[in-house]
Amino acid sequence: MQVTSPAPSLCVVVLAPVITVFMLLVAKVMRNDSLATALFWGGLATQLAVSVLVALRVFAGEVLVYAFGGWPPPAGVVLIANRVAGVFLLAGITVVFACAVALKWFLRDMRDDSVAAYAFTLLFASGYAGVVLTTDLFNIYVMMELLCISSYALISLKKGRAVAAALKYAVFGGLAGLMLALSAGVVYGLNGSMYFGDVSLAGVASLGAAGGVVVLMTVWSLSFFSALFPSHFWLPDAHSEAAPPFSAILSGVSILTGFYVLVRLSAAGLSHMGFMASLIQVLAQAGAIYAAVAMLVQRDIKRVLAYSTVLNTAYVFMGLTAGVDGVSAALLHALTHALGKALAFLSIGMIVKQVGSRDIYVLEGAGRAVPIVLIPLTASILNLVGVPPFPGFVSKVTLYKALMTHGSLSAALVLVLTSGIAALSYVRLLEHLWHPPVKRVGVPKLPLTMSFAIYGLMAAMVLLSVVCTSLVRIFNDALVAQHTVYSLAKLVVS
């Protein structure tokens, strides 16, 4: 393993979008919207290109380290990219890019001119890159808050009920963020350091009552950001009320952050943490059952997808308590879900915009009228169901195997059962959409950019299905080596 420090590409990935936004604001004040748009595309394209670069270098066997200012941890903030980080960075930025491409078509329903949406998308991308790469507890708080504020703003940009949904998310999101800040401070008080290499969840928990409370707060707040039952209540409203490209970004990318940070904090997830592990298991299983059943009764098509996100988060958390194998399976599942869900939201968004309603019964037969969109839509939904040859199948099977080997039979059972129940909802969705049209729906002029976005994401999904089986092994190795990487990085920077 070769540790490269300093790797300026990490700094670019995190800083470039924010700097672009600041330039964009100047352009906006000068009333030069075309310059603003050009800046937006420049910034996002730069971030995507550098993410690809990072992913390539990381898969060539390097571990990239960048310490801001050259200050060694725990005094300074260090960005570390191992294989897990590289994959998640690339996946997230790809989804954001695809949604940005699709954004133009949905702008008419926004309350403000385009520049605000572009600015918030860039800030979101920057916050996400920061969350993926950073290794300092307080920096996680700051990056998460950037991510969250951009999400609240993105949700509230849409006309209609969206402001209420954004408010609900924002109030409780603020609470969760404060819990993160407090736990960062208390961890510093207990340990003298906030660096991931010096802090581990199990270690902090064993430091007495304060440590236990801190771990509880951290885990709760991260499970809120990933929408684990019962902290999922904000999700159905927020993700269904947002405009489709933003629903895709939220359900695909921002959901990843919660458990990703947990995994970065402790490579074995919550496996060796006794009470906390059993609590999370129970909540995840209850959440899965609740979400699967809730999916069946929804009439709003976007709420079906939103509850499906809750379901998949529950699966991921079940995996987090099942040892390192479970954690790698959970990470893979999160990845396949992210791509599939983003694609689903984008395609559904297209159809819904054409028909003008989110009701499943009104949408009957709408799919046939827009055949170009129907194929990626079907692909994404089949991916969510988990049929071969889609990557969703591989990730579910791996998760199942990991759960069985680590002895949580009830979790494996719940996985199978709820997959079945959810499959009913998905099939119902597909059936409604594939039905021969009952009323005349005008065939839309599909903008070229929109098809680029949708087919680009589908290509990414296909690519993922090719590499998924090896990805599990790669994640496993990376997780086992995670702690060594942190210590090595500390040595290299000093």
């Binding site: 209609g160 800040a181 510093y188 009764v297 709003d300």
Partner: protein
């Protein structure tokens, strides 16, 4: 440190923790959005003060971490006597983020009130389960 100082310190921390608890309860339980925002502000301020407490020295004398000495002098003395600068930086950052939050929430509440005329978002979002608003996607 002696009993009285310990008791006072604990008293301060206990009251702050109770503020945090009350604020959290208020955020969750109150139905009026404005009250939720106020309780969130309460939690934010109490968390900031708690963070600041973590850096204080529990023995006297203690000084703020500003170098008033000549350069290079008495580093060990400084380390024994300065308050920890890191929690103070955490406080500054978290207060700014809290301000940003309150700003966004307040204006969103005003917009919400203008749109719906009610200050309880439960009422607005309640009817959504199982039903779909026609005409808007």
């Amino acid at each position: 440190m002696n009993e009285v100082n310990l008791f006072l310190l604990n008293l301060a921390i206990a009251s702050l923790l109770i503020s945090v608890g009350t604020g959290i309860a208020g955020t969750i339980l109150k139905r009026n959005v404005v009250k939720k925002v106020i309780c969130l502000g309460m939690v934010s301020d109490a968390v900031a003060v708690l963070l600041a407490f973590i850096g204080f020295r529990v023995k006297y004398p203690s000084l703020p971490p500003v170098w008033l000495f000549k350069e290079g002098d008495e580093v060990e003395h400084a380390l024994r006597v300065f308050a920890d600068p890191l929690p103070q930086a955490l406080v500054v950052t978290s207060i700014i983020i809290g301000v940003a939050f309150t700003l966004f929430l307040s204006v969103a509440v005003v917009k919400f009130y203008e749109d719906y005329g009610t200050l309880s978002f439960e009422k607005v979002l309640e009817e959504v389960e199982g039903e779909v608003e026609e005409g808007i996607e």
